[in-house]
Symmetry: C2
Subunit: 258 residues, 2 copies
Amino acid sequence: MSFVQDLGSIAIAGLGPGDEALVTPEVTAALAEATDVVGYFPYAARVAPREGLTVHASDNRVELERAMLALGLAAQGRKVVVVSSGDPGVFAMAAAVFEALESGPDHWRTLDIRVLPGITAMLAASARAGAPLGHDFCAINLSDNLKPWPVIEKRVRLAAEADFAIAFYNPRSKARPAGFARILEILQEACGPDRLVLFARAVSCPNEELRIVRLSEARADMADMRTLVIVGSSRTRVIERTGQPILYTPRSALGASS
Amino acid sequence: MSFVQDLGSIAIAGLGPGDEALVTPEVTAALAEATDVVGYFPYAARVAPREGLTVHASDNRVELERAMLALGLAAQGRKVVVVSSGDPGVFAMAAAVFEALESGPDHWRTLDIRVLPGITAMLAASARAGAPLGHDFCAINLSDNLKPWPVIEKRVRLAAEADFAIAFYNPRSKARPAGFARILEILQEACGPDRLVLFARAVSCPNEELRIVRLSEARADMADMRTLVIVGSSRTRVIERTGQPILYTPRSALGASS
């Protein structure tokens, strides 16, 4: 009598910014088939409990342990979904899982691993405000302590010189409370006081707040741990109208000075 | 007898990269309520015909005309959905609609306008390959003729100096057939021959093709109009395994030279 071991799998899934209407059907289907969900508490809490599903919720700042747990469960034949907010490939769990995979036992490399994309915070924030990312842009994570501060400052200066719109993830890091204030100083120096800035908090959630200001008015305490900040390019503009103004970057850079 | 005019609306919606399982429920709901869909032929063709829905499909390179058509229909009280591939805010229709709105009649500014985000090509491509955008990154559009070529070259050089992973949209522009070859030369000069490059074609579609090469092996003809290219940062790595290798950028930049 032959016996084929049921191989486990890992799907590293993006839950989007918060609204269930922004979760892709692909992610919903993976969650419906999962035996185990692994994730940071607030994201794991977004998965509805059901019979046959074990939820492994863990604290922040233990991404590698969480990744190893998920890989170990899959190696036991479980169908694991690792949940991230937004998109798992953008400052989230996918890279952590691959770091753990690379340094882990060889048999992990035979596992069925998929990344299921999601609506990342900058796309959701951009959509709510208009289209500030309508021309070339970049994304910089200010959150972690995995990056020397001089690298961040250099990157921000080069991004300003390239005239990218810049999306800042995790602007108010607990590890670096003064960092974002310094970034705003650098940008005001590089881009001038009139550059437009979007503070988008809890996007797509009931307590969503959007605020559009000039760099000269921007203060670090306008951002918290749930805020995504987009600093426009030199072309980013506002359309005033009844209700919320529209922030957008035109497609054309003809006649650009940079 | 009073009469309240039914105000029209525009939703500028992202259909994702191709697979229906990557279309958000928010977009599906907007399409179900639409009276009119406006879009470039291949995207409009993705919307299922039904009674009460008029589809206005148009050719490429007429984004502004398409945007004005959509705004005009909404001003007549229609429920319009403008469809883009990917995310409408990333090198797609949202900026075009706002350009038309800004230069159009004042009453357009009273319309109900929403942008509905979608899975943009770089997130889908990144997910299929692993997590090449797991650290700071930028997105550069090589397609249109709305940007002077020296601006593009400068931006690519600065992005390489900042050590961003770089996602190139529309690498093979008809207007600039030699442009992408020049970009590959610049990158090889700036980043060296070993830098990893992902060519992701028709991501999430049945004819999807992924190819991971070094910059020294990368050729412009590896990309066509349906290809998204991601050039890794100095940290981007490959995990070899049975089946497709995994391309990813670790979260840490500690000890980075740049």
